[in-house]
């Protein structure tokens, strides 16, 4: 049985190995998706928004789970696309205007992700200016994180291809405490800054 497999694994494997085995099982279970109470896999990576030249200098190094989530209280929100309407005009500003309020509740960082490359995210951050202040932007360029979270959205109809659903999460030391996903990528009712602030205890 699965349970006895894990019991035996715990006896002979290191905890990190057991955890990653558990992730593999969960990830491959149809219908399962990371949700409140689950820990984010320590193998996830994202590309920090920066200029292409900076990426060349750091050899396109990805940011790791340890750098982003370990030991931190993180608010993460995902948008379908940089430079698109709702994302730009409403979703991002709803977090930047609440940056101080989040800090007061003990949040260490607010991060915005989208299935775009890091250089597009960087350009978008610059265009957003004050509307994006207090937010760290990351590119999930190959949708690996989005697929891990089981939050892919097929937006081929909007000329965007595979993107992320619109959602927001509060993640404490890697554990999902809050996860609010919009019913449709064009909605903005539960994943905006005010809603997430309310959800924070």
């Amino acid at each position: 049985s699965m349970q006895s497999l894990f019991v035996r694994a715990c006896r002979v494997q290191r905890p990190e190995r057991v955890r990653s085995m558990a992730f593999d099982v969960c990830q491959n279970t149809p219908g399962w998706a990371p949700s409140v109470g689950n820990r984010i896999s320590p193998t996830i990576t994202l590309q920090k928004a920066r200029k292409f030249d900076e990426a060349v200098a750091d050899k396109f190094k990805a940011s790791t789970y340890d750098e982003i989530f370990k030991g931190k209280k993180v608010v993460l929100f995902a948008v379908p696309g940089a430079f698109t309407g709702v994302c730009e005009k409403a979703h991002v500003p709803s977090f930047s205007k609440n940056a101080d309020a989040f800090k007061a509740k003990g949040i260490d960082s607010i991060i915005c992700i989208a299935v775009n490359d890091a250089y597009v995210m960087n350009a978008w951050k610059n265009v957003l200016g004050a509307n994006g202040s207090g937010i760290d932007f990351y590119g999930d360029h190959n949708a690996a994180f989005t697929k891990y979270m089981k939050q892919e959205a097929n937006l081929a109809g909007a000329a965007l291809g595979t993107r992320s659903q619109r959602y927001a999460a509060v993640i404490e030391n890697g554990v999902i405490k809050v996860l609010q996903v919009e019913k449709a990528p064009t909605d903005l009712t539960v994943s905006d800054g005010d809603s997430v602030l309310k959800a924070l205890k």
């Binding site: 597009v120 350009a123 265009v127 291809g161």
Partner: protein
């Protein structure tokens, strides 16, 4: 490539009445002598600092030398490409064609894997001139990382040396 006719059924994305739409390239290119150049990615250095700006500043000369329209193709979505174009004041000079689904890029055999650069499947850097029947008059590719043969100045030289038939 030179002498062959482009497959008009390839599609790119444009904004039509403010919404994104997939458009066949024959409806865009046919009947015009077109300069088409491609970049690996919006907001990346060479593309931004040299390739696109070169065509913007020489747009009038290129049109005076016999081109009807200049197109910039990239495997990006139309929102990103529109923002990049606006940042470079392309209005009236260069038309951006978002080949988000890599349909045109694939049809030209110009798809290349840039995952190691954090970018996924992209276009190689090329420049071509299509006559009014979408037959290819010239097709030049810059090897990865290089920039030179596909520059606006080179295209202008070709047009001046090869007036329309």
């Amino acid at each position: 490539k030179v002498g062959s006719t482009l497959d008009g059924s390839a599609q790119v994305f444009q904004f039509v009445d403010g919404k994104t739409a997939a458009v066949r390239v024959d409806s865009i290119f046919s009947g015009k002598r077109c300069v088409v150049f491609a970049v690996p990615g919006a907001f990346t250095p060479t593309c931004s600092s040299k390739h696109l700006p070169g065509f913007v500043s020489l747009a009038d000369d290129i049109k005076a030398a016999g081109a009807d329209e200049i197109f910039c193709v990239s495997v990006n979505d139309p929102f990103v490409l529109r923002a990049w174009g606006e940042a470079h004041n392309v209005a009236g000079k260069v038309t951006m064609l978002a080949d988000g689904g890599a349909s045109l890029t694939g049809a030209l055999g110009m798809l290349v894997d840039r995952s190691s650069n954090g970018m996924g499947m992209r276009s190689q850097r090329y420049a071509m001139v299509l006559d009014k029947t979408m037959k290819c008059e010239t097709f030049v590719v810059d090897p990865s990382g290089a920039f030179g043969d596909t520059a606006a100045e080179k295209v202008l030289e070709f047009l001046r040396a090869n007036p329309a038939a």
